[in-house]
């Protein structure tokens, strides 16, 4: 990784035709020997984490919430921190797949599938926490309005009930959006795979997709509509999550800046996670020509921009506490600065406020280990942000009786690392069994690149493959000859 790769505006850096494009993506699934030792190591680490998650959930169900560090003033702690963190991780996926689609950002084509998969797995991890936090998850269906003998419906005025609707809608729509994009790729895998099991499985999954013009016509309509629907959805989900805090009266929570600040934080953490996964994956699987330095550069810039919004949120929190002249807000601020959890606040400022500023420099954005490191630090920082906001605010409240420390237990950490393992395992299975890059959108991009579409290639003088002479380009016509 030490060697620097070239950065230019070319979105497909190697000479490709439709067939070679298909091959470089499809072989991840169709050639198991491509998945070397590293895949197994990551998969087994993920599997071990999933085992730890299973054990901690079992023990939790047997013993009850008491095994966590939650106590009476601090009744929302690791479980809610992790819930908010994981939901936020997912937001980058929807941003890439929906918002960038609406803005006609063709560069998203090679990373959207991957990021959408992350969304779904992250929401799965997130969804576990509030359900388990109810203490009796076997009664989780009480959260939904259903006809029952008591004649009772949930309290729809509660932000927690809004959460139920927001998160379940988010999961459903993300899954549908993701699956719809996969159907044409399943069809393509069906036609490529040589082994019988793969053929049958992909044939079933593709549901008889035949790439007819009518199919594509309606597919494009539905895809654009889903993108248009997902865009306000993704903004609403973290907004509603932030309402859990913002509409309460707890000092440190009752802040109107929370909705935009939470959404920006979610995208910030999400892009960091996408980079953390994509940088190794593109190196291991030879996808550097499709996920180029330009992609990484742009993702770093989005990370920096959202990071600055988050930093503005931190500054505004300080300003609000001072300017409002509210004694309890001010007390909480001083507690954050120099109280028993001051280390977490200052570490948060370093992680989210200081370190991401490295991304201003193009030299740093081109050093992949720096980008990877900054992304990891941002992931930690965003987790700390939720930690500082959620449990720490609860340890310092209106009454002296609320002053109580919160100390997480072994099981808090076991479950958190367990969900990370679960996420890692799902990502590894995804890379192994599903097309990790959207094949047909890449072909569409290639078609535009070959035709020198101005939207894709702003610099008309440059050939689609950098400095290669134009006549050396592999055109589709030449490819037919074989």
């Amino acid at each position: 990784m030490a060697k620097q790769e070239v950065l230019n505006d070319v979105l497909i850096t190697k000479p490709h035709n439709y067939e070679s494009l298909e091959d470089s993506i499809g072989r991840l699934i169709l050639k198991p020997q491509l998945h070397k030792k590293a895949w197994w190591i990551f998969f087994l680490v993920g599997l071990a984490g999933t085992g730890m998650l299973g054990i901690s959930i079992t023990w939790l169900l047997y013993q009850g919430i008491g095994i966590w560090g939650n106590n009476v003033p601090v009744s929302w702690a690791f479980d809610i921190v992790n819930f908010v963190w994981w939901i936020g991780i997912g937001h980058a996926g929807t941003l890439i797949s929906a918002i960038l689609l609406l803005f006609k950002q063709q560069w998203r084509n090679s990373i959207n599938r991957f990021a959408e998969a992350m969304t779904i797995f992250a929401v799965m991890c997130a969804g576990m926490y509030p359900l388990l936090h109810t203490g009796r998850p076997w009664n989780a269906y009480w959260l939904f309005p259903y006809p029952n003998i008591l004649g009772m419906l949930p309290q729809f005025r509660s932000a927690l009930e809004w959460d139920v609707f927001a998160v379940s809608t988010y999961f459903t729509i993300s899954l549908v959006f993701w699956f719809m994009g996969l159907i044409p790729d399943f069809a393509s895998m069906r036609d490529r795979s040589t082994n019988k099991f793969g053929k049958v499985a992909f044939a079933l999954l593709s549901m008889g997709w035949r790439g007819s013009n009518q199919h594509w016509h309606r597919y494009e309509q539905a895809n654009l509509l889903l993108a248009g629907l997902s865009t306000p959805l993704v903004l609403s989900v973290h907004t509603i999550v932030s309402y859990d805090f913002a509409i309460s009266i707890v000092p440190g929570w009752n802040v109107t800046v929370f909705p935009p600040y939470f959404v920006a934080g979610a995208v910030f953490a999400g892009f960091a996670m996408v980079l953390n996964f994509l940088i190794p994956v593109r190196a291991f699987y030879g996808l550097k020509d499709l996920i180029t330095m330009r992609h990484i550069d742009w993702m770093c810039k989005i990370m920096l921009a959202t990071g600055l919004i988050v930093l503005y949120g931190y500054i505004l929190e300080v300003f609000y506490a001072v300017y409002s002249a509210n004694f309890y807000e001010y007390k909480l601020l001083m507690d954050r600065f120099q109280g028993p959890y001051a280390w977490s606040y200052w570490l948060l400022i370093i992680c989210n406020g200081v370190v991401p500023q490295l991304m201003w420099s193009q030299k740093m954005r081109q050093r992949l280990w720096v980008v990877w490191g900054v992304s990891a630090v941002v992931g930690l920082g965003m987790w700390l942000e939720r930690f500082v906001i959620i449990p720490v605010s609860l340890t310092n409240n209106y009454l002296p009786s609320s002053n109580k420390m919160y100390i997480p237990t072994f099981w808090d950490f076991a479950m958190f690392f367990g969900t990370m393992g679960f996420f890692l395992m799902l990502m590894m299975l995804f890379i192994r069994f599903l097309p990790a890059i959207n094949v047909f959108e890449m072909k569409d991009l290639l078609h535009k690149v070959l035709n020198n579409d101005s939207k894709v290639e702003p610099n008309a003088e440059r050939t689609p493959y950098g400095n290669a002479p134009k006549e050396a380009l592999p055109t589709v016509e030449k490819e037919v000859a074989k």
Partner: protein
């Protein structure tokens, strides 16, 4: 109606021409439409802009259905809350009005998105006739490349102008890689 085939011969699905670039497919589709063919379809590995226009295919059912789905979602979402908190079980919470619209917006909004989004997916699937275990076009030799790097144009035998020989000649003029008559 021509009677190009006897009753005992296998029924024909139509004639299928294979092309190597999207541009050739578009121009062939355009020519076929101008020649008056109605039952046409094109097959490609990725969506091609302008192909629907070239082929004369226009369909706006999905957007209308999604709009209707969104309306249904909004009414169900709002209606559910109104029914629960105003009609069925009015409960005074902190002296706030029973019809407190701002607190009803989030769920109304989420239900709108949920129903509209599911409608988009399922109407796309249903209008496209998926899942479809068998389709005659898969009998075309080399059709497995329709999802890879080849572009196909089919003129179906149900077309009033379809004539096995004349249509084949018509397609052959567009310099395809191959033309096949495909069994139904």
């Amino acid at each position: 109606m021509s009677h190009g085939y006897a009753d005992d011969s296998p029924k024909s699905f139509g004639l299928v021409a294979e092309f190597d670039t999207p541009e050739k497919l578009i121009s062939a589709a355009e020519k076929a439409r101008l020649a008056g063919f109605k039952k046409l379809d094109a097959y490609s590995p990725f969506p091609i802009h302008g192909l629907s226009d070239a082929i004369g295919f226009r369909d706006v059912k999905v957007p209308y259905l999604v709009f209707a789905g969104g309306l249904v979602g909004a009414f169900v979402g709002y209606g559910l809350q109104f029914y629960a908190h105003v009609l069925d079980y009015p409960m005074n919470v902190g002296g706030k009005p029973l019809v407190s619209i701002p607190s009803m917006i989030p769920i109304t909004f989420e239900m709108t998105i949920l129903v509209a989004g599911l409608t988009a997916f399922f109407s796309m699937i249903a209008l496209n006739g998926l899942p479809k275990p068998y389709h005659s076009i898969f009998n075309t030799p080399g059709f497995n490349r329709a999802s890879q790097d080849r572009f196909f144009l089919a003129i179906e035998s149900g077309d009033p102008q379809f004539d096995s020989d004349k249509t084949r000649q018509f397609l052959a003029e567009m310099a395809p890689l191959s033309v096949h008559e495909v069994e139904a």
